[in-house]
């Protein structure tokens, strides 16, 4: 059993619930077992609360990286993507999507791709100290992105000097941009550009906000 036994199992369960095939009687049997398990888990949660604990999240659930909706291993909504170390002015996040995140048959859902881009743009902005705020992320879907095939989101870090001046690479004052791409099997399947208007000099200490 891995270090995240329930997390691993719940992702496998969601996948199986989406993809399995059985008749009505068989489905009813599964539903009965799932309802019993859900009730048991909810009772266990109440017991944790009654004992004065707050589950696994001593600092609050939003600070637990396991629960992140894009990278959290305990969050079934996430693929999950795995954040890579910053290198050469690029941040990355890698993963493999399954049928849970299927859009067109056999392909990753456009919404899952959008979520991945929002995350990688968030990381790129956060590394240069840009506060969360209004922005537009535009994604161009160039080719189908396939399920079951490893992929990698990449984003260029903001140029710190340009950011401090409130200009983008083309010198447009007040406009800050991040470019990003999704690579699968050596091909760029999607590209994205994030744009924000900021006040010149509106910096803070870079520390990464992690989406």
């Amino acid at each position: 059993m891995s270090q995240e036994p329930l997390a691993d199992m719940v992702r496998a369960l969601v996948l199986a619930v989406v993809a399995h095939e059985t008749d009505a009687a068989g489905t009813d049997e599964l539903a009965e077992a799932a309802e019993a398990l859900a009730s048991r888990m909810e009772v266990a949660l109440l017991e944790v609360a009654a004992s004065g604990g707050d589950g696994t999240h001593a600092q609050g659930p939003h600070l637990d990286p396991r629960l992140h909706p894009v990278t959290g291993v305990a969050n079934a909504f996430a693929a999950p993507l795995v954040d890579g170390a910053e290198s050469g002015g690029i941040v990355t996040a890698s993963g493999t999507f399954t049928v849970i995140h299927e859009g067109p048959p056999g392909c990753v859902h456009g919404g899952a791709i959008a979520a991945g881009f929002e995350h990688i743009v968030d990381r790129a902005e956060g590394r240069t100290g840009l506060e969360s705020g209004p922005r537009t992320v535009t994604i161009h879907y160039r080719r189908p992105t396939l399920l079951g095939v490893p992929l990698r989101f990449e984003a260029n870090l903001l140029d710190a000097g340009a950011y401090a001046e409130g200009v983008d690479a083309e010198g447009d004052p007040g406009l800050v941009t991040v470019s990003a791409r999704l690579v699968q099997d050596g091909e760029v399947t999607c590209e994205a550009r994030a744009e924000r208007r900021i006040r010149a000099g509106a910096t803070r200490t870079p520390e990464g906000r992690g989406g």
């Binding site: 309802e35 266990a44 079934a76 909504f77 919404g111 929002e118």
Partner: protein, 271 residues
């Protein structure tokens, strides 16, 4: 619309029934909804229980998983049986794709989709038709929380929802196809636990492209806006995407149960 259909109760006991013609769901719409509802509770519990799980819970979980994993089809078989998501809401009606129950077909939509599929335990949104336009209802919970601010929904979750809300606006007008471009603008934080309403309409269309736009309203405030360009697929395009996936695992090109299985399409061939 004057229909008594409650989109939140479709295919639940006491709720309206909408046929879902996907082979894995048809004939067990109510039972499958019951299963998915239970798994939603499990998914939510795991967020807060992982390290505290008792041995008994883990054992029961493994038993359930063992049972259901035995029922998983081979990937090639699953794809060969997939039908277009247009195939829902009955047949022989005057809906844009011949649906008998247009509103029901919107509520069911892509039944196993990650953003609005009532048969996918991670989906946050319920779609509906209100006064002739597509509306998406969601009250985002812990599963969708951004980590940098405890009260906010992750922008990626909002974008994922817009993708389907805009696509469904197209479908309501008889147009269907994958996303070509999606632009989402975050205007203000979208909060956890507060009901949201996505709204979307078609802006314009040409022979092979349709553009729709929408907004997300929470407590009377527009927190996000989106615009999307989508390919208008014909049946050839839909089949090409299916064959693309089949080419990953199959070595022969054959036709099975009415769908192609085989290696005769590459990415660049998808229209």
């Amino acid at each position: 619309m004057s229909s008594p259909l409650d989109p939140f109760q479709v295919n639940r006991p006491g709720g309206a029934f909408v046929e879902v013609r996907q082979p894995a769901i048809v004939g067990r719409e109510v039972e499958r909804r019951r299963l998915v509802d239970a798994v939603r509770r499990i998914v939510a519990s795991v967020l807060f229980l992982d390290e505290q799980a008792e041995t008994g819970i883990l054992r029961d979980f493994e038993d359930l998983l063992d049972q259901i994993e035995l029922l998983m089809p081979a990937e090639e078989d699953r794809l060969s049986r997939m039908m277009s998501p247009l195939s829902t809401g009955g047949e022989g009606g005057d809906g844009p794709f011949g649906e008998a129950n247009v509103r029901g077909s919107v509520v069911v939509g892509n039944a196993t989709g990650m953003a609005s599929g009532m048969y996918n335990p991670i989906s946050p949104t319920i779609l509906d038709v209100v006064d002739g336009r597509i509306v998406g209802h969601a009250t985002f919970g812990d599963l969708y929380r951004a980590s940098h601010n405890g009260d906010e929904v992750h922008d990626g979750v909002v974008s994922a929802c817009f993708d389907v809300v805009l696509a469904m606006a197209n479908r309501l007008h008889g147009m269907f196809g994958p996303t070509m471009e999606l632009a989402c603008t975050r205007l203000a934080p979208t909060r956890i636990g507060v009901p949201c309403r996505f709204e979307a309409d078609v802006d314009w269309y040409r022979e092979k492209v349709v553009v729709a736009s929408g907004r997300l309203v929470q407590d009377g405030v527009v927190t996000a806006e989106a615009s999307g360009a989508f390919r208008r697929f014909d049946q050839v395009g839909i089949e090409a995407v299916g064959r693309l996936r089949s080419s990953q695992g199959a070595t022969n090109s054959t036709r099975k149960n009415g769908s192609y299985v085989g290696s005769d399409v590459t990415r660049g061939d998808v229209p």
